[in-house]
Symmetry: C2
Subunit: 462 residues, 2 copies
């Protein structure tokens, strides 16, 4: 680690955290139309930071949805050009009442900063900006060329950026793509993710009678929409935790023995983990370990269910509508469209008597997997070691970053995933937080990575 | 039908509907604490009407919950005393967006008055008040003695009135109890209900991890509370619509062949009924007709289900909590406490791995059945025939009026159920309404009933 950079981050820590807090206080929830103005505020925050740094071509690139914030600094001739990706939009914060501090206040407790987006993914946007700030401040230049591409639709499917990549790939072209939206293994064990799960989402609605019915007058004689939904959903998994949809596993690439061995060797304390989650048992598909289930095996999860009366007290109705929001995490080589077609076929074949069903398909994303022996990956391992004192391990991530597969397919350039969240950070959940220790180490890792790439990475390797 | 009474109702129809509208506009929802003041307004409305009529001992009798409005007129010596029961509280109106006119506005369209409570049960409270008004106006007296007992907790279990009956039965004692909270068969076919279902209600909560979890990072490895709830609920019915809880049917009194024949002879057009409900198929327990299923067989219905994300768009979480509000309709001789114990045993035996469950038991009510050959019933048949032109048939009602069984047990006096709602009135559902034709005929039926009882009912028959 370069001494001057280290000193710069130490001297500016308080200022950086104050700025980070300002950023976290913008509720840039991309899934809710009421937050459209907040999304623009967050995009402007990012764009102003870029402009202040001296980045050029800074622009809120319009999309049919939320803008992509683009900016570049390309004054390191002969050096690699890196496209840096992260996202400034966040998940909804509901249920608000489960947050110990308001989700858009950014409260620091015990070395953790609590806010929606604090890990996923404003941390990475902000650290990339501050890394460049430190490099400019200490060197008046950057060691390589950087294109920033921070999108506002990662949590809703990255449609805008996907279109921009299709229509204007030139703008985003680079020698290397660095994606910052992933986790490491633990506070002191960095990791580089080499595979992501894809996703296929849909909403299932069951329609019964044309209105809710009195459960006294009609109870026993008319199909209850919630019963029909329960019956339908209960056909989707078997007692061993397998998904019981014909053909669901057909395209799944089996884990190699080598991968299973590597995954089994990663640190994992099951008792500690259960205590962290507050559960008596972990649960999942028989025949696979926890790590395998959560990263290399597909899932079908109900993310939300509702129907009938949900208020205070009781109400003796037969609900005439019931809803389930469902998402499938996919692994190589499952295709979202094919999976949704299989699921739809299953639902139509299992729809109970007395109701009709409706399926609204949402966005999908393909799973992604990449070789781990590329020089840019090896250099990233070194950069992590510079900051953490230990080299990065390799992991599969259970989450989906749909745009990664799109970058790979569109730009056909190597991708390295450099992230600093923790598996325990409550991303997408109440009390999301980011460790200030990883904030410090992340800034140092990224600076080292740029400096090492500048020295070691030759363009022919791209 | 007495000509003078008929004329009085015709002359005052507009005035009565205006007053009825005022009554319906009070959102006296007993299950929600925010409506406490509305409950009191509704109680005062009823009490003021009684006082205006010249009733004595008019009082909002305090209970730990909502007051019982009591009043009596006991100046017909030698004539029977009738205790008249109905309730001024109403069910919640949610979901509001499904109402074609606001639930607490009382809109009249095509001969129907639409409002929450318009059928269940303000119609009956109001008709009883106006019947007395007409009798006083035309005769300066009532033909018999009346005690009015209008409660505000029918929709939440009648606890207050149950306690009052236990501590002060004298106040409510009468020769005959008339309960007005039931339906007739169709617009031109009156009916007297001789059996009610009981009810056992509870809320089931499934707890998973200590917060919602990211479905990417954890998906496949941790039990999803909504999955566990679905799995649990799916064990409660079999494919033939029977309830699969050990012992659930043990105390059910089988239908006699005579009852089955009588029920089968009641008018029922299945195709018309399906069209009314907007369903392709009716659904229920194999081996029983629609009428049997909905009145003489017990049920277990999910009245509401919720868990996880229910907002706009999607949110890829593993919900850590899921809830079901459940009620069982019971038939003679099932006991609510026993049924809840059987259900709880079943749930605990079927709780999936990785979650814990919580059961909150709500109020219960015993089912009720009464002989149909009592003179007070025969006289009621005549009164209906006076107004409708055809005698009343006998029906079992699928709903529960918990207090009926309590009256019977506490006061040990005959009970006749005299009601005017229709099975199609959307009680407990959006767009509840009451037919103005039954409003007119109900006023005439009740007046006739009081006059006929005064002439024909001898006290020794009580």
């Amino acid at each position: 680690m370069q001494q001057d950079l280290d000193q710069y981050f130490t001297d500016h820590r308080e200022q950086h955290l104050a700025q980070y807090t300002d950023f976290l206080r913008i509720p840039s929830v991309s899934t809710k139309s009421e937050h459209k103005a907040d999304i623009i505020r967050a995009a402007n925050f990012v764009a102003e930071e870029m402009s202040t740094l001296g980045f050029e071509h800074v622009e809120l690139v319009e999309t049919p949805g939320h803008p992509v914030v683009y900016g570049d600094w390309l004054h390191a001739p002969g050096k690699p050009t890196v496209l840096v990706y992260a996202h400034y939009d966040v998940q909804p914060a509901e249920p608000f009442e489960l947050w110990k501090s308001p989700p858009f206040e950014a409260d620091i407790r015990d070395g953790l900063i609590y806010a929606r987006g604090s890990s996923d993914d404003k941390s990475h946007v902000f650290m990339h900006l501050k890394t460049c700030e430190a490099l400019f401040a200490t060197r008046n230049t950057l060691p390589l060329n950087i294109k920033f591409c921070f999108e506002g639709e990662e949590e809703v499917g990255s449609h805008g950026l996907t279109n921009l990549l299709a229509t204007d790939p030139e703008r985003f072209d680079a020698d290397l793509i660095v994606i910052s939206d992933t986790s490491i293994i633990g506070p002191n064990q960095p990791a580089i993710c080499y595979s992501l799960r894809g996703i296929a989402e849909f909403e299932l609605t069951v329609h019964g009678a044309n209105s809710d019915l009195h459960s006294g007058g009609y109870g026993g004689g008319v199909q209850n929409a919630t019963h029909a939904l329960v019956e339908l959903l209960s056909t989707m998994h078997d007692q061993q935790g397998h998904i019981s949809i014909d053909g669901f596993y057909e395209q799944v690439r089996p884990l190699s023995e080598q991968e299973r061995t590597e995954m089994a060797s990663l640190p994992f304390d099951e008792e500690e983990f259960k205590a962290f989650l507050g559960v008596n048992d972990l649960y999942g598909e028989e025949g696979y370990t926890y790590r395998e289930r959560t990263s290399a095996r597909p899932t079908l999860e109900v993310n939300g269910i509702y129907g009938g009366y949900q208020g205070e007290g009781g109400k003796t109705v037969i609900p005439n509508e019931a809803h389930a929001k469902i998402s499938c995490r996919l692994v190589p080589d499952q295709e979202p469209e094919e999976i949704l077609a299989l699921v739809e076929k299953h639902i139509r074949a299992h729809t109970p008597k007395g109701v009709t069903i409706e399926i609204e398909k949402h966005h999908g994303a393909r799973p992604y997997i990449t070789p781990i022996d590329h020089p840019a990956v090896t250099i990233a391992q070194q950069a992590y070691e510079d900051a953490y004192g230990v080299p990065a391990r390799f992991t599969r991530m259970g989450g989906s970053i749909p745009i990664v597969e799109v970058f790979s397919r569109t730009l056909k350039k190597p991708i390295v995933m450099v992230g600093f969240a923790l598996p325990t950070c409550n991303a997408h959940a109440p009390n999301e937080h980011f460790s200030l220790d990883n904030f410090d180490k992340g800034l140092r890792t990224i600076s080292s990575y740029w400096l090492l790439l500048s020295e070691q990475y030759t363009l022919s390797e791209g």
